[in-house]
Symmetry: C2
Subunit: 408 residues, 2 copies
């Protein structure tokens, strides 16, 4: 297992082997989640050299030179101007000397927290679709084995101010999806999120909570018992090191991890300005299927769901079958929809195939020009892919167009 617990990262214990891992841990305390410049610099020159440059107080021009010398991708390096890098260094520097990093590591050890970095077997593959916005590392409490089930996970999110209707619908959805083998991802907030986790646990299912602050301090505090149970049965994840408080920004960035780590996102109940619409926006931007559960038009608590259906092309989902349809579990090798062409799987669908399959419905037949528009492919490419998929038995042609067959 590549993942190590943080006490193995404390200086004095074989620092050479763990320097990159330690540096990434430090970066989670230095850069705010989603800091694109931190992501790019760490990606281009490595976390250790980047941290080392910061400690040596190298300026923006100097850091840019290091990036250029490392042969970093030209386009990215272009964006990494000396000025941009100097602004970033000005943001990061105040945190380098603070005791936060050390506190974070000792707290992490105390709470049996595991650090995961890209390349670790449990690293959620969906994160990679975030590009330079991907987390540099994440902190996990609970069962690392649960993270593998993110490959068959659905995010159930919604407003804190939930109604009885929303909670009922969420309970049914979470329990029903758990029964179908899905892991439930959510944000542990009051209302819909909490119900999603609770119902998953009640059905003995896997559930994963993403927090906007450190995993040592549960937020909201009223969900202390719930989060303790999630740690026991599933996992609690944060991009922030122990000791970090949640902020508005961190909540928004946390939402991108919920969307990126799951196969699909479903909004169960949300008002017109609910924060869960932000998660929906991330899912949509990542090309992940997005579903929304309608409710009474007389209920302001459902206005956000209706908005997603009307304005953001969210699929109207009314029961568990329709939710599962958004993220079909095929032969157990479910992929994040954004995975371009996974290695070691000769028979996995190509990128075009995935896009065509995503553009198809299992119920409403669609003409090839419609599929082409939805998939963003040429009609000719769509026809070629449909031919191949028909041979495979994945799709079928009907009088009114093409249908995706249900996964068997």
């Amino acid at each position: 297992m590549h993942a190590v617990t943080p006490h193995a990262l404390v200086p004095g214990l074989a620092p050479d082997a763990v320097s990159e891992r330690f540096a990434r841990a430090a970066w989670t305390a230095i850069a705010e989640p989603g800091d694109r410049f931190a992501g790019l610099v760490v990606q281009l020159i490595g976390a250790t050299p980047a941290l080392s440059a910061l400690i040596k107080k190298i300026d923006g021009a100097g850091l840019r030179q290091i990036v250029v010398d490392s042969g970093g991708d030209e386009l990215a390096a272009d964006d990494l101007s000396a000025d941009n890098l100097q602004s970033a260094i000005d943001r990061w520097a105040p945190r380098v000397k603070s005791p936060d990093v050390v506190v974070a590591l000792s707290q992490a050890a105390r709470y049996e927290t595991t650090l995961l970095v890209p390349g670790d077997p449990q690293w959620p593959g969906g994160f990679d679709d975030l590009g330079p916005h991907a987390p540099i590392a994440v902190w996990v409490r609970g069962n690392l084995s649960t993270l593998a089930t993110l490959q068959s996970s659905i995010a159930l999110v919604g407003a804190r101010a939930a109604t009885g209707y929303g909670e009922h619908v969420t309970m049914e959805a979470s329990a029903g999806l758990v029964d179908r083998g899905y892991t439930i991802v959510s944000g542990a907030a009051y209302g819909i999120d909490g119900m999603a986790h609770r119902a998953a646990l009640a059905s003995s299912g896997q559930t994963i909570a993403f927090l906007a602050g450190g995993v040592d301090r549960f937020y909201p505090s009223g969900h202390d018992a719930l989060l303790t149970r999630i740690v026991e049965k599933g996992a609690v994840i944060s991009e922030l090191p122990c000791g970090s408080s949640p902020t508005k920004w961190r909540f928004l960035q946390r939402n991108r991890l919920i969307a990126a780590s799951s196969l699909a996102t479903i909004v169960l109940e949300a008002g017109w300005r609910s924060g869960s619409l932000n998660t929906a926006g991330h899912a949509s931007a990542l090309g992940r299927p997005l579903g929304a559960v309608p409710g009474p038009v007389t209920s302001a608590a459902s206005a956000g769901c209706h908005r997603l259906i009307r304005e953001y092309d969210a699929t109207c989902v009314t029961n568990t079958d329709q939710m599962a349809e958004l993220a079909p579990l095929g032969d157990g090798t479910a992929l994040w929809p954004g995975d371009p062409d996974p290695a070691g799987s000769a028979s996995s669908p190509t990128s075009d195939m995935v896009r065509v399959i995503d553009a198809l419905s299992t119920r409403a037949p669609r003409a090839s020009h419609d599929i082409a528009a939805r998939a963003g492919l040429s009609v000719a490419a769509v026809r070629a892919v449909l031919g191949a998929l028909e041979l495979e038995g994945t799709v079928a042609e009907r009088e009114r167009g093409w249908l995706r067959k249900n996964a068997t």
Copy 2:
């Protein structure tokens, strides 16, 4: 006024002048609504020669010869094979000698019923989009002037088995649309339809009911008082002559008239198999905007609406503004969306413009290739039309694509 009351059609009163009109009246008693062969023959050779051929017991081959001699459109004539025509004659013949026609005319006179035929100024223009399935004539009780307001009408339909929620939503929709100047079209059934008419009347609005049987016998009988009020304030229309009972087939055909006569159709509450989904299907087939109001997913009474949103691309509408958006009332010269190029209105949008406008949303910006796919036009044609519409101020370009501006 071209429309005449049926007593003017009784034989003996200037038969030459009214023979075509009389023949059409007779055809409404001879052919079932939507009989494509009746529609084609009457269209190609005229109602009087067609009726005359029937009375003379001319056979299928003979009737085909008459059609060919009249220079009827070749393609249509091809379809009108001697065999097909003989089958049709076999259907029609039993009704030619029946007293139904005479009874229908005398009943019509008694109930102050007006016969309308294509070309009459009050003839609903939307009917023409039905092609050979257009009614040969319709019978009207009430105020003929109301029929002109079909140019700014919305059909509000739904299930007989309505819930309190559905009735509430329908009441709000009908009253709100009346306030915005729309005429409310519906089918006078129990439940949603009845509430749509009632709320329109309560708001002193125009409302029109389409019946599946004769306008002399109100159906359902429990809506006798309601239909009497609709006759007083609006109009009641049927394709069937007086004395006809409603049948399953006639309900389905009546639905096509509701969809064709209105600018848009909205389903307010409908179960999975509600007959109102048939009206929705007609609206969709005619290219009319289709809206559906979502409801609780826990209510079987809303399952049909959710089905329309999921499978038939109905727009999710949650308030009166969104409903009105489906059929914007512009400068008072609203058109049936299918009107190809109305005469006498130099500034009215061309067919392509109507299709492009229909393909736009006032909220979700759309790229031109998306609009092209929705409108069934080439991208180049869409770009040209968008340019013209932008000059007019009807559309606007945003970062993510084109928006339709709200009618002012």
